[in-house]
Symmetry: C2
Subunit: 197 residues, 2 copies
DNA sequence: CGCTGATTGGCACCAGGTATCAGTATGAAC
DNA sequence: GTTCATACTGATACCTGGTGCCAATCAGCG
């Protein structure tokens, strides 16, 4: 019947919730063998919000109205776009983009910004990256705002291949440079999209 | 006072919730000017779950024990890893990785898998992509499982630069190939990590 | 006129909590 | 011993955001 020390229970509680935020207080009573009131006092002390708030938080994080998630359409916010000519986007390096140990952005996020801008700048129904030659000039760090500028060097409407050069800056320092070759559908404008409003 | 037709309200309701899943029924009554009961009947007909269920769903999606989100550590599941030699990872193309119109994977996801494998295979505290030369051989499509194989061509422990070649296959077809140059901290093993449990 | 579908209102109930007050157990201090 | 603080448990009222169900109303149509 010996109760484990409070501190230890707090640690366990924190760990349990961390690796399963979906636990209700009732389930926690089972796992920690204390009353539901104790669980609630513990959460209070540890400043762990109630289940619904936890889920809401997670949902908010994954929702993000700015659509800055690599899951969505364009990575970064388009600041300027002149189809088949040039484009500019901004992408802020946040916690979730960096190596936690160094605060340096993972390369693929910086790449993703550049790549999706290179695709967005092509004035075509279908545009796909064919190849790219890229360099990470200096690391981008947590909190920095990356400004990517894309220039269409040859639009290749006939040939079906466009060349786009992208430079990414933080302030006036270049952090990334890439040459993209983008496949384009070359005038074959599909008209299937009747389903969506 | 004219009520808009039910169908139209249903469409609006669906759209409203789609672009703000956080709306409660009460808020929807305000937006659609109908009673809360009507809202609930509508949700019932449209099979739209209640607020809490919606948030729970989003939270679950963003939680994903497999960590297949580009937000997290390694994109794809590591199947095999021999540090400073080679590595294999698997990444399944899902809805959220493709252009909805064509079902073709966005380049940066395929790149992200390759890039993070190239970084993971380096046996060092700090490893960063310096540059890469990549080619998308053929598009990867929804549902396909991409197998990336990374080979360390020169580990460059002294020089601080490693060369890693990555090939990504779907079945026996190559979809991506890349040559990565990875900066490494070259033996400077930091020992700061005293904060975490 | 009655019928039907759409809409509204009211009430009981539920989960997963918060907030508050009261009671018990246990060990240390005096 | 008594006293006190801390930890824990219990019980109750209340809140939000719903579900489920039943009854009432309202509009349009044949």
């Amino acid at each position: 019947m010996e109760r484990m020390p409070k501190k230890q229970r707090h640690q366990q509680l924190a760990r349990l919730i961390e690796d399963n935020p979906f636990l209700t207080d009732r389930e926690l009573t089972r796992l920690l063998k204390v009353s539901i009131q104790t669980i609630r006092l513990d959460r209070l002390e540890l400043a762990i919000p109630e289940l619904r708030e936890r889920l809401k938080l997670m949902a908010e994080r994954s929702y993000d109205p700015v659509r800055s998630l690599p899951l969505h359409e364009v990575i970064g916010d388009i600041l300027d776009l002149q189809l088949d000519k040039s484009g500019i986007s901004m992408f802020e390096i946040r916690d979730e983009h960096v190596f936690s140990r160094s605060g340096i952005a993972r390369g693929h996020h910086v790449f993703a910004q550049a790549n999706s801008l290179a695709v967005a700048v092509i004035d075509d129904e279908i545009a796909l990256t064919a190849s790219a030659d890229i360099r990470f000039i200096r690391p981008a760090r947590l909190g920095e705002k990356c400004i990517a500028k894309a220039y269409v060097r040859s639009s290749g409407v006939q040939k079906g291949k466009a060349k786009v050069e992208v430079f990414t800056y933080v302030g006036d320092e270049m952090v990334f440079q890439g040459n993209f070759v983008i496949y384009r559908s070359a005038g074959a404008a599909d008209e299937e999209g009747a389903g969506e409003a």
